[in-house]
Symmetry: C2
Subunit: 149 residues, 2 copies
C-alpha cells in the first residue's frame, strides 16, 4: 500500500490499526491537553451543524441562519466566532450596502469535514436503532425497574 503524504486525511485510516490502540495513544482525558480542549470546542450541536453547512461552500450569514433550523442569531454568531478563532472558518467582509459577509472553510476547516462526515453518517445509519432502544428503555425502566418517583 502506498501512502499519499500530501493528504493528511489519507493516511489517517491506514494502516488499519484498531481504534482502541489509536485512542489509547492520545491523552485526551487530560484536561490540560490541547486536544482535550479542542474536543470541547467541537463537541457541540451548533458547531457541527455549521461545519456541515459550510462543506457545501461559502455561505452568507442569513443562508446559514436559514439552513440551520432553530438557531438564534446569538448562537449563530457565537459559534461562528468560535470557529473563526479556532482557525476553522474564514470571515470575509464586503463593504457594500447592504453589507455582505461570507463564511467559508479554511484548509484546516476542510480537514475536519471528513471526520465529521463519518460521524454524521453513523448517526444517520443508526438513528432508528437508537430510537427503538430509547423507546424500549423508557417503557421497561418505568415499570419493572425503577419507579419514577
Amino acid at each position: 500500500m502506498v501512502f499519499n503524504l500530501d493528504s493528511d486525511d489519507a493516511q489517517l485510516n491506514y494502516p488499519p490499526q484498531p481504534a482502541i490502540d489509536r485512542i489509547a495513544k492520545m491523552n485526551l482525558f487530560d484536561t490540560n491537553c490541547a486536544g482535550h480542549q479542542l474536543l470541547e470546542h467541537i463537541a457541540n450541536k451548533w458547531t457541527i451543524l455549521i461545519l456541515y453547512a459550510l462543506t457545501q461552500g461559502t455561505k452568507r450569514y442569513h443562508e446559514l441562519k436559514q439552513q440551520i433550523v432553530g438557531i438564534s442569531p446569538k448562537m449563530l454568531i457565537q459559534n461562528l466566532r468560535n470557529l473563526e478563532r479556532c482557525g476553522l472558518i474564514e470571515r470575509e467582509i464586503y463593504p457594500s450596502v447592504p453589507p455582505r459577509v461570507d463564511y467559508s472553510l479554511t484548509p484546516l476547516g476542510e480537514s475536519i469535514v471528513e471526520p465529521l462526515a463519518v460521524l454524521g453518517e453513523w448517526a444517520y445509519r443508526h438513528m432508528l436503532d437508537v430510537k427503538a432502544a430509547m423507546e424500549q428503555y423508557d417503557n421497561t425502566s418505568k415499570d419493572d425497574y425503577w419507579e419514577p418517583k
Copy 2:
C-alpha cells in the same frame, strides 16, 4: 468492488465519495430528524470521553470516574444513563457486597468507536494548529480589529 454486508463500518468509507455529497444526502439539519436528535446526544464532551474510556473494555463506575478527570458523580451517572438509554452501553449489576456495576459497550456502541476515534485523531493531530490560531486571533483582534469594551 465487493461490499462486505456483514460489517456495517466496512462499507462506510467505500466507495470514496466526497464528504460534501455524503453530508448533503442526510437531512441532519432538520430538527425532527432522528439523526439530528441523535447527534445532539453524542455531541457533548463527557459522552465522548466515556465512550473513549469504554473502548478499552468493561469498566466499573469508579474506574470511569477516575479516568475521566474532573467529572462529577452527577454528570457521570447522567451521561451513563443517557448512553444506556440510547442502547450504546450496557449496565450489569453484580448483587454482591460491596456492590459492583460494570459498564460496557453494546455492539451498537462499538460501531461508533471508529467514527469517534477518527474525530479524536483529528483533534490530536491538529491541536497545535488550532492553539496557534487561537492565540493569533486573540492578539490581533483585540488591537486593530475590535476593542474589548
